[in-house]
Symmetry: D2
Subunit: 142 residues, 4 copies
């Protein structure tokens, strides 16, 4: 079971289902078990001092892992976030976009697990790590 | 070492340091090891379908635990989110505020740990659980 | 859907399926959404210095949450640990048993979530917190 | 700040401080930000059915991350496990050792964070993922 959508189809699908965040999250690359997603940092993502907020990093990790999962199970399917763990390790660089490198570690019949590493563009050390778990309801037909 | 701020002082402090979310997070009750915080749900917190988004629940858990920690260590101190784990268990009720009940499990010299249970107002079963960890930098004087 | 086993039946069942740890984990109390389980601390659970090891605390949290879940879904059913998060907050008291207070936060068709607080007997502050997630395979008949 | 011990010194140190698990955990390779550690699976690590138990996988992740951290901060230093999250994704192969690939994501003055992927020897898909957090007490001199 390979990719059910390519990067362009996936981007179009995300824009349709999450119109309120159009332009914030960009699919930079997509492979069978990996996706690279960018958070185009805007004022609303920032804390005082110019650093990206925790909820924005959570949103990026969740969006990347959700997109990775949907790219594999197809847009008719459902995936619901059931668990998350994150480590916040460094302050993101002020004024830089964030890049999430997301690996699909498991895609089972009812559960998907992704591991995500988040970097500030231009900074070598990672700013955060996340793992996200999704429940895939058994009845996949809409 | 008891509370360094009461509920009113804490609310005022949060409004000063996070002016961009003023009116979103309300301190409903504050004790030495417990805080009750409300997310006043607005359109920007919602996913299509009317349910509160994951990042909004993360923000509520983080805000409650941060406020609990600051209420104890005082507003001159610093606390930086270093870790988080969440379980998303049920869909929040559409159109309802969320209430976070946050317990301070540990307040050490360099680490604080909080446990948070999130409910939709009027719904008995919890919608999410979180634990948040904060690093408290050694030099507390500003 | 209430308890499928009482405390005595549950203890007997655990002894049958985990004979290698017989006498280590005791069911102290059982309610519909709560279980109290004791780790009878033995030499093999200790680190140098006399404190209980991390893996032993993990085993206690897992055993308590597994037992809670099985007490509800019945011994013919299956439950597989899929996720865990723990915070280790204090050194356990040397020479004391550990008590886990485990709450069943969710029991869905395919997922169960428990929250666990671990104390050293005779010590008021908790030594660790855990959440455990179980997948319940769809076909429950053996 | 590079490695304070090489693989042989690290192995010798672990044997000294954890004599009760001598021969269970082997350092297979060590680099500045990565360690490969083997769990030599024995009967005591197994669940009925022949699969490696959850607590044994926790112990492997903890040992790998602890060893990685100590290799960098030196054997006079202290590191205490403060947090852990794990995803259990597949049943380990029966009768196979486990290999943990552990990456040091952060080594700060007071906190270290490692990410660990666990494989059964001879199996391509990972059986578990873990992240471990350590507190490094400020006074490093013994």
């Amino acid at each position: 079971m390979g990719l059910q959508m390519d990067a362009a189809e996936l981007a179009k699908f995300l824009d349709q289902v999450f119109p309120q965040v159009r332009g914030e999250f960009l699919v930079e690359a997509l492979e069978e078990e990996k996706i690279l997603m960018r958070l185009c940092v805007q004022d609303k993502h920032l804390r005082p001092g110019g650093t990206v907020s925790g909820p924005s990093m959570f949103a990026l990790a969740d969006c990347a892992a959700y997109a990775m999962t949907l790219a594999r199970i197809g847009e008719q399917a459902l995936a619901v976030t059931t668990g998350c763990s994150m480590d916040f390790m460094r302050k993101p660089a002020a004024g830089s976009d964030l890049l999430a490198t997301c690996s699909l570690l498991k895609l089972g019949r009812t559960l998907a697990v992704c591991d995500i590493l988040i970097h500030s563009v231009g900074m070598q050390a990672p700013v955060a790590r996340a793992s996200m778990t999704y429940s895939i309801p058994p009845n996949r037909s809409v």
